[in-house]
């Protein structure tokens, strides 16, 4: 039972001090979670602390491998709108 930080992490350090179990550590190319230490905040907080401060959608996965903050949930940008804007950029 542990969360996972994946490659879309931008290394902003925000989650590291927020973790009650000191399970998050700086690494290359991005921050990682020590699965042995991670408690998913159980007993400390009702919500994942790392995923509550993380600004990047999809960067932290729960133990089922699902994004805790799915696309659009933090920025408010509808995913299809984002995809369209990026596709337009690519075509230039």
């Amino acid at each position: 039972m542990a969360v996972k930080i994946i490659e879309s992490c931008v290394n902003c350090f925000a989650c590291e001090p927020a973790c009650p179990s000191h399970a998050i550590y700086e690494a290359k190319p991005h921050f990682l979670v020590d699965a042995k230490k991670c408690t998913e905040c159980e007993g400390d907080f009702p919500v994942f602390q790392c995923a509550s401060i993380c600004p990047i959608e999809g960067a932290i996965l729960d133990s089922f491998g699902l994004a805790i903050n799915p696309p659009g949930s933090l920025t408010g940008i509808p995913p299809e709108k984002m995809a369209k804007a990026m596709a337009e950029l690519q075509s230039h």
Binding site: V10, A14, Q49, I77, K81, M82, A85
Partner: protein, 501 residues
């Protein structure tokens, strides 16, 4: 502590919106800081960000030690690593406090006119208290001749005031975009507060309360507070006059209203959703309408969170980590040298101020013109004089000349933020983009103009002028204004120029 009213001048008849300009009909506007109490003026007179005057002489730098943030703003994208963009929140290399101290001392030794070190991100400095305060603590010990500044979104500010007051930090900038949570909910999608992500109006309300509380606490401690606001058309543009009133009544000494920067390629909410930024006219109108209540700052360049050099220039490439690694800095020797140079610059600024005041007295004797106002663009690399070729200018300073004098309005970038190739999107050349950026100006003053731009500028209704090279900006603008008035060019309002109601 309440500061005296700034720019508290009666309106000038039909130019009621122009209260920011000096009350007297002198040739040049009074110094932006002239109305401040001596104690504050003393603190800001060599600060390039706080004094319009000083920004022609002194440089600043930011060190990017603060990556974490505790809120999300709709104009920010937290994927902050980009070398080619110049805007707040963007950096190339994140520094540790140790690296930041080394870099600061290297810059101070090599750019002695650098007087100010700021921590401005790329996240929120106060959401990274250990990294931010470690940097400040070491710098106030090891480089005591550098002024320290910090900017913040304000959420963690009340808890940081005590610590800030310990570190020789006498300037704090708070970004306050609203005082109404309903407006705030359209700007801030969420905040992280007391171990929870709080969205919408509830989050915005907490943020606003913390900002206002922090502002009051800083003023009570005697720390100078500047307020930054991002002008977002249709979101907070109507609301910012209210913000200006509120922050001024609480003792902020300067309000910096900045235009929203929003492009789809930045990947920000506003960029992707097609929210536009204000036009130069809209920005100027808002700054003018706020200036009756609050001292306005108009020379802000919205720097990167790792900018180095004079405002408008970025010498960060000279001080990358691998380069500073090899630099041996003898800081006590550097401090001696810096002191001498600072005194020389101060003497030059003082004599120029005196000269300006004398000239202003002379102009008072002259008959007053009755023309419409006119905008002019100026190419300068500093020292308050016209000393840059048209083609070398990466930005232009915009001045307004009118019967009430000459006043600085804003700066406009000549090159695009993306800094890409010479043709952009619609096949426009860099020259065409630059000319478009100067829309509304009727003259451009520079040390020299090439043949090709000369023709195109004339065709665009902007008179190129290279006759005032090395002259003080305000004097030159005034001289060109008088020539234009004498030639009858300012009798009527051309279609292309903004209507001054």
């Amino acid at each position: 502590m309440q500061l005296p009213v700034l720019n508290d001048t009666p309106s000038h008849g039909e130019h009621g919106a122009k209260e920011g300009c000096a009350a007297s009909s002198c040739g040049t506007t009074e110094n932006q800081m002239d109305n401040l109490p001596d104690s504050i003026r003393e603190k800001v007179q060599n600060h390039p960000c706080y004094s319009e005057d000083a920004h022609h002489y002194f440089a600043r730098m930011h060190v990017a030690v603060a990556p974490a943030c505790n809120i999300q703003c709709h104009y920010c994208n937290r994927k902050y690593d980009c070398a080619n963009e110049s805007r707040p929140g963007v950096v190339s290399e994140l520094l540790t406090p140790d690296q930041a101290v080394k870099k600061t001392m290297a810059v101070a030794a090599n750019i002695p006119q650098m007087t100010v070190l700021g921590i401005a991100g790329p996240g929120d400095p106060l959401a990274n208290p250990e990294r931010t305060f470690e940097t400040f603590r070491r710098l106030s010990q090891e480089a005591p001749d550098i002024k320290l500044c910090v900017s913040t979104n304000g959420l963690a500010l009340p808890d940081a005031v005590e610590e800030l007051s310990k570190h020789n930090i006498d300037h704090v900038t708070i970004t306050i975009n609203c005082v109404d949570p309903e407006v705030g909910a359209k700007i801030y999608p969420w905040i992280f507060w007391k171990n929870k992500r709080i969205k919408g109006i509830k989050g915005a309300k907490i943020l606003i309360e913390q900002q206002q509380k922090g502002l009051e606490m800083l003023i009570a401690k005697g720390i100078l507070v500047k307020v930054n606001s991002v002008m977002i058309p249709g979101v907070n543009d109507q609301h910012l006059a209210e913000v200006s009133k509120v922050v001024k009544s609480k003792g902020a000494f300067l309000h910096n209203v900045m235009p929203l920067i929003a492009e789809a390629e930045h990947g920000t909410f506003y960029g992707v959703m097609g929210q536009r930024g204000p036009t130069p006219d809209e920005l100027q109108d808002l700054q003018d309408s706020c200036s009756g209540d609050m001292n306005m700052m108009r020379h802000c360049r919205q720097c990167r969170a790792d900018a180095v050099g004079m405002l408008g220039e970025d010498r960060g490439d000279e001080f990358t980590l691998d380069k500073i690694e090899d630099m041996e800095i003898d800081y006590s020797a550097a401090m001696e040298k810096r002191k001498v140079i600072h005194q020389a610059i101060q003497a030059e600024m003082d004599s120029k101020r005196l000269e300006k005041a004398e000239k202003a007295q002379q102009h008072k004797q002259e008959p007053k013109l009755t023309t419409r106002p006119v905008l002019m663009a100026v190419a300068t690399s500093g020292q308050g004089v016209i000393n840059l070729h048209f083609g070398h200018a990466k930005e232009f300073l915009i001045y307004e000349a009118s019967p009430y004098g000459v006043r600085f309005i804003s700066h406009r970038k000549a090159d695009q933020y993306c800094g890409g190739d010479t043709t952009c999107g619609d096949g426009e050349t860099t020259l065409q983009i630059t000319i478009r950026a100067l829309a509304g100006c009727e003259a451009v003053l520079c040390s020299k103009v090439g043949y090709e731009p000369w023709e195109q500028l004339e065709a665009a209704g902007i008179a190129p002028n290279g006759e005032h090279a090395m002259e003080p900006i305000e004097e030159a603008v005034l001289a060109v204004y008088k020539e234009m008035a004498a030639a009858g060019k300012l009798d009527s309002i051309p279609e292309a120029i903004r209507a001054i109601a």
